[in-house]
Symmetry: C2
Subunit: 368 residues, 2 copies
Amino acid sequence: MSREPAPRPVPVRLTRSERITPEELALAARNHGMPLEALRWAVTPVGLHYLLIHYDIPEVDADSFALAVDGRVARPQRWSLAELTARPARTLTVTMECAGNGRARLLPRALSQPWLLEAVGTAEWTGVPLRPLLEEAGPLDDAVEVVFTGIDVGAEEDGLVEPYQRSLPIAEAMAADVLLAYGINGGPLPPQHGFPLRLVVPGWYGMGNVKWLARVTVVSEPFTGFQNRVSYRFRQTADEPGAPVTRMEPRALMMPPGAPDFFTRRRLLDPGPCELFGRAWSGWAPIAGVEVSVDGAASWHEATLSAEPVSPHAWWSWTWAWDASDPGDYEVCCRARDGSGRIQPSDGAWNLHGFANNGLHRVPVTVR
Amino acid sequence: MSREPAPRPVPVRLTRSERITPEELALAARNHGMPLEALRWAVTPVGLHYLLIHYDIPEVDADSFALAVDGRVARPQRWSLAELTARPARTLTVTMECAGNGRARLLPRALSQPWLLEAVGTAEWTGVPLRPLLEEAGPLDDAVEVVFTGIDVGAEEDGLVEPYQRSLPIAEAMAADVLLAYGINGGPLPPQHGFPLRLVVPGWYGMGNVKWLARVTVVSEPFTGFQNRVSYRFRQTADEPGAPVTRMEPRALMMPPGAPDFFTRRRLLDPGPCELFGRAWSGWAPIAGVEVSVDGAASWHEATLSAEPVSPHAWWSWTWAWDASDPGDYEVCCRARDGSGRIQPSDGAWNLHGFANNGLHRVPVTVR
């Protein structure tokens, strides 16, 4: 399906309306986030983990499936699923977030999947490490990147029907914990998570975790496919190349306290002590702390962070004892900071495609 | 949590804008439909089945869980999960659709979960039939309805925090195939589908299939809780009582042919023969036929219907061989009719809450 790459326009699809267009709704109806009460689970149950599926979920015959490793390698390889699953397996617990999480909270808003805050999940991925597979193929000295090609096909602005493809720098692809996963949470990979095989790149936003992975191609020039060169870049204007989107910015989310109003999702809480609970993660460094505000980010309180994350690549938990004795309306917020010095901003930095908006989680609560 | 029922206003939350409000988006971000390419599976994989969760997904301790059967019965009962799963099990394959499916395709639009067409799925539910349980409790002669109460709580327009509750007429509750399910697709019920126990009422829209079921109460007066008296009724104005929403209207959906454009979801197709495939169901009677149009419902062709549905309570499949040789833009449509004489209308009938809109599935396709 791949063709000679032609120059492609950078899309500028923005709106200043807070209301969601029919096209965005069509995406929101098929993709889904993790309802935030599911933060209670250290490992997100299957079906609650967020999903962003660019094209269609393909049906793949596991018996005839084979993974190709080719390009700038000394020994091109081809492995059946049975050969891959016969290799030593590894299970990693990984928190994964969509790069577009928070997009719908920015104005002007990039027209794409209109995520609010729920595009995250943590899964136990079981599979084979990528590095030994690449080593068996033997990348040549001029290798700079590895391109991962999915079975799923669709078109972007240029109208070409092509498979989903993303590359990683060779050093990132060779990192010890990059996995080709064929299982999730102790069971087989379901179709929507990339059956029979997907890439898992701990710490990176979801776009690099290519689903329905069929081909791993070592290349000697930076990959210029749509998902690397046009999409998934931080830019302010359509005519700048921008910087690539890579690792997850720090973010804290809370389990909304009390009970919801069905339509507004405002939280209703009885007066009294309320233990706030949430999770926090960063793809750059361990979480260093989480703060909580109950007055709309006017003042902050240090939360109690768990001694460890759920795993080295997964979220931490945090708690804070709120004395919610006084009836009234509150805006409860949380923010995370990590060991690299990054801290969540009050509002996320605007960019053309609406990526990595890690502005605060703000929850309206009525104590009554 | 239940209190004396007070008179409740019927909500009138409508918009004339095609664009989705922030509150609707918040619902769309947490609930999700079945991507329509998943129509290929006779039984929907877990995680792809539609989900509408009114309040929060509760965490339930299966060990201490018990189901109460009470109210107008001779012998109130209480069963642990172990006692229920020790009884003879039954597995039913059931197609379930949200009553609000299609809501976002009506204008003026009721402000609620903004479904397009994807709020459907088919699952293999394993559990215990309800009727023998009710018979052991012994409904009294004055029993008219059975109220099903979930563990999940939230508020509606009146602001009271109450559990989700829905009733069925006693005859419907005693129907042979009404199930209390503790398993789905051969595995345990995941939290979002009602762990550890949910009601399954074949043929009815989803609102009757109460999740996280904790209590079954036989009553001698029609139930006047919010989900029966205010919501889930067909009405044209706020001051009429309206008719109750019950069984699923007929609907056919198709697997969108070709490949999608990511943002517009327009389908791109190579010229040549194209086998269209889809599913159809009705809660009123067996499907009697499906028709296909490739010219925006101007002319219709009879599709080939499967000899049988996937199960007596599940969808049928259909195919139609489209000669898509001529490049151009098409609007491909399908419509179902059932043995009760019901046929899908071109556009669904408007009602105040946007229920049961079974207007045609229309798919823009470009052959090129």
